[in-house]
């Protein structure tokens, strides 16, 4: 059972429905007990970094998430802001992130040429950085595009944790991985067939 963690940020229906479409058993929940029973976890997120971290803490979820991620080592995927939360922190906020994958989120403004619009929004390409079960079947694809909407971008400290890279004025890590923990800056649930493929692979991990 995949549990989509509901900590009060954003609409989770699309994520759930795309998992259903690929035949995965999944449920949206904010119950600690249910998160504890999960064999996979999806951490969504839309909005501001500190608000999200605070909501997770206020919901009493930090402990269970750490246990699932670091002790049980079940597959966990963070999406969009949910990926940024996996890192050490963000320029957007003051609170530390979950710290599961060393890295940091920074704002595009001032770091890219001024003619490039922020947020980075639309369908951009990704370059695969390593072989991994989550990318099974991607190797033979000529061009892979995902749908992005974000103003902060993540760079990991250790290149071994880079799963995909994307360029938008600057090259950043559009997907990250460390052991059982995966992050995607783009929205797989809005990214048509490549999104479904990623979800399908995640469900099969």
């Amino acid at each position: 059972m995949i549990v989509i963690v509901d900590y009060g940020m954003g609409n989770l229906g699309s994520v759930q429905n795309m998992f259903k479409k690929v035949g995965a058993d999944c449920r949206i929940s904010s119950e600690i007990a249910e998160i504890d029973r999960a064999d996979k976890i999806l951490l969504p997120g839309v909005g501001a970094f500190d608000v999200a971290m605070k909501k997770i803490a206020d919901a009493g979820m930090l402990e269970i998430l750490n246990k699932k991620a670091l002790e049980e080592k079940i597959p966990i995927m963070g999406i969009c802001l949910g990926m940024q939360l996996l890192t050490n922190g963000s320029e957007e906020g003051k609170l530390p992130g979950l710290g599961w994958i060393p890295g940091y989120a920074r704002h595009f403004k001032e770091r890219i040429e001024s003619h490039l619009r922020v947020p980075h929004m639309g369908w951009n390409t990704v370059k695969l950085q390593q072989r991994s079960a989550i990318l099974g079947g991607f190797e033979q694809e000529e061009e892979i595009r995902y749908y992005f909407v974000h103003s902060y971008f993540v760079c990991v400290d250790d290149e071994h944790n880079s799963l995909m890279k994307t360029s938008y004025g600057i090259e950043f890590d559009s997907a990250i991985i460390k052991d059982n923990i995966i992050g995607a800056q783009f929205h797989p649930e809005k990214s048509h067939r490549f999104g479904m493929k990623l979800f399908k692979n995640f469900a099969a991990l």
């Binding site: 229906g13 699309s14 909005g47 947020p119 595009r145 649930e189």
Partner: protein, 262 residues
């Protein structure tokens, strides 16, 4: 050599978007749709699914439902689209306050589009951007050329205002619009091409994406609008609904002209 402005805008990495627009009334699509393999041409979910299969990059639903009481059917439609279609979509029409947008967001809409309501109450743009982020807020503008100037029109172009289109675009951006959907009433329905002159003028002063709308009749019109104006997206209705332009063919043509598409 310095890259030209055109090169810069064409090579951002982000694909130019092709957006079919669907008119919805009481939760059903209206206007003729002539698709093969469609069990029910009025079903927005099925139509949206077909378009996503054809590699449309995004969808816009314009809700022309007249009454407040019928709004629930639209919400149900938004939920059904969100459940079944995995490309981003925008809902326009019937959004007058934060609450309207909130329901749509929670039903699964990725963006909302406001038009006359924003002109009548510009503060609505600020409120929506503050509450949901600028990426959620599309400001749609109907513009018409009158006595040498472009004026904002309301209610689907029926009512002229004294507001100059260029001024209104700037104001919308400064208040927190994330995108501008600009429909040229002079070109809409003519199938003679997008209003490249207007789009070029307004795009120069804009730092948010602009969606060109009105006038698409053939594939070359899309090539022209992307090469001549550097808009980020082009929207059309009937040429897609009647199968006059197939999106995969259109993408192939755009690609052949060096335009980055998905």
């Amino acid at each position: 050599m310095e890259p030209s402005l055109t090169d810069q805008f064409l090579n951002t990495g982000v694909a130019k978007r092709i957006i079919p627009c669907l008119d919805v009334k009481d939760g059903r699509t209206v206007k003729g749709v002539n698709f093969v393999d469609l069990r029910d041409a009025g079903d927005p979910v099925e139509l949206a699914w077909q378009y996503s299969k054809q590699d449309a990059d995004e969808l816009v639903f314009l809700d022309i439902t007249a009454t407040h009481e019928k709004r629930k059917t639209t919400i149900d439609m938004v939920k059904a689209v969100a459940r079944n279609v995995n490309i981003p979509f925008t809902i326009g029409g019937g959004i007058h306050e934060i609450g309207d947008a909130d329901i749509l967001l929670n039903s699964g809409a990725d963006k909302i589009s406001i038009n006359s309501a924003a002109v009548r109450n510009p503060g609505l743009i600020d409120e929506l951007a503050d509450a949901f982020g600028i990426q959620f807020v599309v400001v749609a503008i109907d513009t018409k050329y009158v006595d040498g100037k472009n004026y904002v029109h309301l209610n689907g172009g029926r009512i002229k205002t004294d507001i100059l289109t260029e001024e209104w675009i700037k104001e919308a951006e400064s208040r927190g619009a994330g995108e501008i959907l600009l429909t040229s009433m002079d070109h809409d329905g003519t199938k003679n091409g997008f209003d490249c002159k207007l789009l070029r003028t307004v795009n120069q002063s804009l730092s948010i994406p602009i969606i060109a709308s009105g006038g698409a009749g053939n594939q070359q019109h899309f090539v022209d609008v992307f090469l001549e104006t550097q808009v980020d997206a082009a929207l059309a209705a009937s040429v897609f609904h009647y199968g006059e332009i197939r999106i995969p063919d259109l993408k192939g043509t755009l690609r052949a002209h060096g335009i980055e598409v998905r």
